[in-house]
Symmetry: none
Subunit: 193 residues, 4 copies
DNA sequence: GATGAATGAGTTTTCATTCAT
DNA sequence: GATGAATGAAAACTCATTCAT
């Protein structure tokens, strides 16, 4: 019990430190020594709790996506009215770069890995699928969506939030995610009304 | 003159080989030796034409974005009618993952670098700005866009194409970029008409 | 007293586990953690009962050689007739690779250490000396051995059993230690008759 | 051509240095850094010419056995008379510990690896098979060997030389390989005459 | 006595970069 | 201009050993 507690603590320490390192230096310039230093542990500890660097990196993305999903759920799910729920989801999704800039950066760092690392692809695809399903259910709760567009709304909502996040992460001055989000909400309202 | 021709050839050789390496192994697992082997030259040649690895990587993203921009221009620019032009742009942008999967993967690999590498950020921002301006001009040519939405349309178009590209690159089976593109075109038509 | 019992148990546990590890992975790829896991104890226990890894390794070879010596004695010593006793010894020695393959492998693993580790050399030399003396005494009991050859018989018997053991351990299919043993017994009989 | 020459030189440098390291420190305490230092090259060079440490170790045993085989051949093969040839072979084999003590030590270090490394086993088995065949051919040239014993003579000769080598390597004072060799030659003569 | 988490020096291996040819 | 051998610092990973609990 004490053991599993320590394991949990150390794992969290390392995963969190890794995120900070990725944010600071980027995925491609990331050493286990950096992670150890940032986590305040020896390299030995890291290899006591993780199989290898790849294992850490996988845990990081799993953890980041899980947390981001929970954050969205916490705020959006309690809303009952389907119309407001959808709008609220869009708002929340567009706010990620401001609310959670580290997650945004971590995600952008992992996108490049997806093509050559099936496990990472898997985690990402599951995450986006979950979001898509979630939005899909909200939309279904809305009643009669304009048929053709209706089916594509969930994917559009997710795609738009990814794209907006990236643009505003690249240049928050030139791409205001809130503004784009507002416009997108209006578009969706036009489609659904 | 002969020299500058060789320079051009070698530079292209190396840049193209680097792209292929990124597509195959990812940005984070990329060695100069790999690039040399893929380019069919010695490592010495690489350091004759490039300052260092970072320099190659910068050239690659510059080249990739330039080519992608030109591709879009080649097909979209000749169209005269503003309405058709906008639709055509959206189609073209959504088709990138299929038409030019390597560009898509290269871009995704560089996204993670943006946060920690200002030069890369710069290149990307300029690229997206160019596209945004381009779309903006098309939209202005349309006449009266619905005010509020109208201003955000260019950013939305770019964001949507980025997001759709990523989703379909992660799972082309689950995210059909053409289908999402069609729905998005309808949305835009609703907004503009 | 209870303490010394535990000590005995733990020491045996560790020594036996180390043998199994050597058999499985070889002397050169042997970690204290492996030993602990194989013995079913913590690494702490190991350092409670042994000074260090070297100490374990020494105990292992001491134990292995002691046991092997006892095994031979148990079977050969009761025989009274000197002629039959010598033949019996040769048989027994040649049978080691089959009867006690783990001992054979352990011994082969320690041979390489001998040159650079005087303590190990010591243990091995004492072991082979004991065997040589033993055989020497049997031969003396025989009466008149052919002078010149007679003196060398003990060393030849030991050398032959070492060599046969190694050959049949390397390839039991191509080197049948029993067959070689039979031939060798005939040779010895020719010399002694 | 110059390239392959350098390759040959470096490979030899590293293989020879590795042998010296094994003789000095033993197989189990052998670092690539040691090898590099002993060879007078950087670690990078080592990995330029060898896949990894295992690869070096394999080359070493291959080289050691090849050279030892050639040495025996050089001296024994020119002899025409079968009887003298066999005796000469036995002498030569028994002299290995004195003539070529490094080979003896290297071989003893690899014996322990055999059980857990099939490639090493392979090299050793082939070496001993070659010797056995060679002796077998000499014996056949002898005419009528005493049937039963005759077939086993080659294996006995090889086994005896291995065993004698080990004993005299462990304690040259107590085990005089030349003396044992002389006695063994007499035994063989008894069997063959 | 027993545990196993922790350490950090040491190991194997990689790789950007240089430079003699 | 081109080569690729060479370097050595730094990366990933291991492991004997210690020690607080």
């Amino acid at each position: 019990m004490a053991n599993s507690l320590i394991k949990e603590i150390r794992t969290k320490q390392v995963v969190d430190a890794t995120k900070r390192c990725i944010v600071e230096k980027g995925f491609a310039n990331l050493s286990v020594k950096d992670i150890a230093r940032e986590a305040g542990v020896s390299t030995g500890v890291i290899y006591h709790y993780f199989k290898n660097k790849e294992d850490i990196l996988l845990q990081v993305i799993v953890d980041a996506f899980r947390k981001s999903y929970e954050q969205v759920m916490d705020e959006v799910d309690p809303i009952e009215d389907p119309g407001r729920k959808l709008m609220s989801y869009i708002e929340k999704a567009q706010a990620v770069p401001q609310d959670n800039p580290d997650f945004q950066i971590v995600m952008m760092n992992y996108l490049g890995q997806a093509n050559s690392n099936p496990e990472i692809t898997n985690v990402m695809v599951r995450f986006f699928n979950n979001l898509t399903s979630y939005v899909s259910n909200i939309v279904k709760g809305q009643g009669k969506p304009n048929c053709r567009i209706g089916q594509a709304i969930p994917a559009m909502v997710i795609a738009m939030s990814i794209g907006t996040g990236i643009l505003s992460s690249l240049s928050s001055e030139q791409y205001d995610s809130q503004q784009i989000g507002e416009a997108f909400k209006q578009l969706i309202r036009l489609a659904i009304k």
